[in-house]
């Protein structure tokens, strides 16, 4: 039996188990609705358009946060890479960055940007950007010296060497940063919506939770899970292709 098939069987078995436990009443409906009901509820809210604005806001914020994290992280990574003294000074800080619970800074962002998308994006970028910085440094470190020498042999300018040799050589490592930036942007945006927003999927889930609207709450949670799974699957397909080419 293939690893992939076994994985699908485990996931399906767990869903069926939860379905069974919900149906026979072991898990009360007040705690969790059955997975099949989640699907039905999701269909209903998507058809009604009741949460369309929240869904649009959340995914727009995630997209903005991802793009900003990747761009800022990449540029910062290149600058830090080109300044070895600066790198020596801040690399220990980067290494311990994720020990800091970024969400504690939310009052600062509310003061700076007010309640809304700007604060949410700022927190998500703060959470995601360092993963891209680290991936950029790693990618640039791992460009084989011989490839740069090859660029010299072809008498390529510094910029052409960077664009046509160094960037493609570092891409598999940079893509790890892209994957992490996407993941952290999802976490940053949706989690922030719980605490500092009046709109978005996170806010809608918290709102439904407070009103005991389990149908809406689980439908929205299922939506997030489905989108995250699809996005990750697509990123993993690209990643696998890049990694396959990296093997030397």
């Amino acid at each position: 039996m293939s690893e992939k098939l076994l994985r699908v069987i485990v996931v399906v078995a767990m869903i069926l188990l939860v379905e069974l436990l919900c149906r026979v009443g072991v898990i009360p409906r007040m705690v969790m609705i059955a997975p099949s009901d989640m699907v039905v509820e999701l269909g209903k809210i998507l058809a009604s358009g009741q949460f369309s604005a929240d869904i649009r806001i959340t995914f727009t914020n995630i997209a903005i946060s991802t793009v900003l994290s990747i761009l800022v992280g990449f540029v910062a990574g290149v600058i830090i890479y080109s300044l070895p003294s600066l790198r020596d000074a801040i690399e220990p800080l980067l290494a311990s960055y994720y020990a800091v619970p970024t969400f504690v800074f939310y009052p600062i962002f509310i003061t700076l940007f007010g309640v809304g998308s700007a604060s949410i994006i700022a927190i998500a970028v703060l959470l995601a950007v360092v993963s891209m910085v680290t991936a950029t440094l790693n990618g640039l470190d791992r460009i084989p010296r011989v490839l740069r020498k090859t660029g010299q042999i072809y008498r390529m300018s510094r910029i052409k060497t960077a664009l046509l040799i160094e960037l493609p050589a570092a891409t598999p490592y940079l893509f790890t940063g892209v994957k992490l930036s996407v993941a952290y942007s999802f976490i940053g945006v949706i989690a922030s919506e719980f605490i500092l927003s009046g709109a978005g999927i996170g806010y809608a889930i918290a709102y439904a939770y407070n009103l005991f609207e389990n149908g809406h709450m689980y439908a929205l949670m299922l939506l997030v899970l489905i989108v995250v799974t699809v996005v990750n699957t697509l990123l993993n397909i690209v990643d696998r292709r890049l990694q396959m080419r990296r093997q030397r």
Partner: protein
């Protein structure tokens, strides 16, 4: 395949002394600045490479062989002395010089065909001409069936063929090879040596090969330069006397044994110096 009568051993005398040198080094030294000291890596070195000559350099580890190659390639400038290619001082990588490195320098994100075409595209060569040259080089190096493959799908030997093909398409007049077969097994190395000799005959390019392997140097070269321990200088030049249509079968001739014995005689002394220094 044949050998000239007897190994012609001419200490410190470059071949074809009367012919104009294709590449020339005079009094070349290279010193590296280290954090707390300096490292005198090379020289002073004098060397004349005759046009169309196959010249190999052997020497103990760290004697400055690769530094010598970098200077001829224009990748590194000498501290003192002069380096010339085709009568002009070497400043930056000269036009007409190709380099094959020991490390795998194939681009993993490009397939074989695009790897081979890379330099031609950068040089703005006409697409029809690129196709013609790439077809030829890919066929010549036995890569035709792998043209659409990526380096990760190829063996180490095949990837080195890609790098040689990528150099070949640029039609270099001087080809510098820095231990190109160092990472390959013995059988593949011998066969790659045959490929290299075929390429050399076909292109009439001047070749400088850096190698650790005495047998490789003895089999492939018209002339072998033996370098001392660091700072590397030439302590012997050995003319092999092989005919141009030689191949790897020369390794079974007594003459091949004479050449390798001569090389080892000189190199052994240098290797012992390094060993005794290590013990001291």
């Amino acid at each position: 395949m044949s050998a000239a009568s007897g190994a012609k051993v001419v200490p410190l005398a470059p071949q074809s002394a009367m012919a104009p040198a294709h590449a020339r080094l005079r009094g070349v030294t290279r010193v590296f600045d280290l954090p707390k000291s300096t490292l005198h890596a090379l020289g002073p070195v004098d060397l004349d490479l005759a046009k169309g000559e196959f010249f190999s350099v052997v020497g103990p580890s760290g004697c400055g062989k690769s530094t010598l190659l970098d200077i001829l390639a224009g990748l590194s400038a000498p501290q003192s002395g002069t380096a010339e290619f085709e009568g002009k001082p070497i400043q930056g990588v000269p036009d007409g010089v190709g380099v094959v490195f020991q490390e795998d320098a194939s681009f993993p994100w490009l397939n074989v065909r695009d790897n081979v075409a890379f330099g031609l595209r950068r040089a703005g060569v006409d697409p029809a001409e690129i196709n013609r040259r790439v077809d030829y080089a890919v066929g010549f190096m036995g890569l035709k069936d792998f043209a659409a493959s990526y380096p990760a799908q190829l063996s180490g030997g095949m990837r080195q063929r890609v790098c040689i093909a990528r150099t070949l398409v640029m039609q270099p007049r001087l080809i510098l090879l820095d231990e190109p077969f160092g990472a390959l097994d013995q059988q593949t190395r011998l066969l790659m040596g045959d490929e290299l000799l075929r390429l050399w005959r076909e292109t009439s390019a001047t070749i400088l090969l850096i190698t650790h392997a005495l047998d490789e140097a003895a089999m492939l070269s018209d002339r072998v330069g033996v370098m001392s321990t660091r700072p590397g200088t030439f302590i012997d030049f050995v003319e092999t006397g092989w005919e141009k249509d030689r191949d790897s079968r020369v390794v079974s001739t007594p003459h091949f044994g004479d050449i390798t014995a001569r090389l080892w005689e000189k190199l052994r002394v240098e290797a012992l110096k390094i060993m005794s220094a290590g013990k001291g």
